[in-house]
Symmetry: C2
Subunit: 218 residues, 2 copies
């Protein structure tokens, strides 16, 4: 999408650049159909290239997944920016709906999205900044309960991911219903939430631990 950035080092030959895109597209399709445990050969076959080609473009499978997730993260920021244009009381809901759609298109990579190693990334920081803004606006407009913090948004998206991944084959839109329930639950109410939220920046800690946990499992 923004080839100008990658080509900084050395402009890819035209066929190579095209293959890179084919590989990324195929990978999203394969992973979303079979989960991220799908083999590289599967991705290569789908892209119509050999495994060697995949490995010349991406140093390893994790890097391939990371690139997909990075793109997804950028798209999330775009969606969030768009939601800033909506009315204050609707912006947060619009973002969550958009994020749900993006997640639905990337089933299989969602674990890497929320637990990947991009804690320090600029994109993630930007997403947080805009998300906090959307939340604050919705709260000021009286559309969302004041106890909510940004970390709650992240967790809701993460739990939505479960529905997205599991129900994808039966009703690819089912997550919308779960989201509706969550949105209702986020509205202001005299009955406050009692369990404390994650501390600020807590999502990073969650991501870090999830990665470690995975590592210790092998």
């Amino acid at each position: 999408m923004t080839p100008a950035l990658e080509t900084a080092a050395a402009p890819l030959r035209r066929d190579a650049a095209a293959n890179r895109e084919r590989i990324l597209t195929a990978a999203v399709e394969v992973f979303s159909a079979s989960g991220a445990e799908a083999g590289i050969d599967e991705v290569a076959r789908r892209a119509g290239v050999g495994v060697g080609t995949v490995y010349r473009r991406f140093p390893n499978k994790d890097a391939l997944l990371a690139e997909i997730v990075a793109q997804l993260l950028r798209d999330l920021v775009t969606v969030a920016r768009g939601a800033l244009d909506a009315a204050p009381e609707a912006g947060l809901a619009a973002f969550l709906a958009g994020a749900g759609e993006l997640q639905a298109r990337h089933a299989g990579c969602l674990w890497q999205l929320w637990s990947g190693g991009h804690e320090g990334s600029e994109t993630l920081r930007e997403l947080r900044a805009i998300g906090q803004q959307l939340l604050a606006r919705a709260q000021d407009a009286g559309a969302v309960r004041s106890e909510l913090v940004y970390e709650d948004i992240g967790l809701l998206l993460w739990s939505l991911a479960g529905v997205v991944e599991s129900a994808h084959g039966v009703d690819p839109q089912l997550w919308r219903r779960t989201l509706e329930i969550m949105l209702h639950g986020m509205k202001p109410s005299p009955e406050k939430l009692t369990h404390p939220p994650l501390p600020p920046g807590g999502l990073d800690a969650v991501a870090r631990l999830a990665t470690e946990r995975r590592a210790s499992g092998r």
Copy 2:
């Protein structure tokens, strides 16, 4: 827990029976600490036995996981039964809270819980029957929106599982906050949910597809 059932075929020698329990306990600990991808040797080491012993008791890894999940399912039924004793407007919430706790104690096995191959199991049928009863009571008492169906409950638990698994290391109780939001969202409101629910029995279809998806990934 109910050894009388398993011993129907041939009573286990005392040390063998003890080892079986040690293995199950160790497996829950290991899987919940490192995910279900943890190796059998890890489980065996934790249980203080050799891998051979694990395999004499359980034909393969899937069977070990299945036994854990079967026990978890039985515990869920117990919790659900207990919730029937609560006031009609509180029973469903009590069940969900209890189910959350059980899930928290079995992080790592939750995927197998919701996608395992026990679609036809008697326990699952019983869970559904009680769950439907809890839901109907809550609806009759005016505590829960009338559009909700049993399948929504299953999906909410499944999405809760995501929070349980991911946030476990940072705040093992954090799922309670997400559940609170969900519970608020489940309350009656003039603004009805618009996206249609899963059809009756739809959870089985979800489970079946999830299993296939996994299989095609290998």
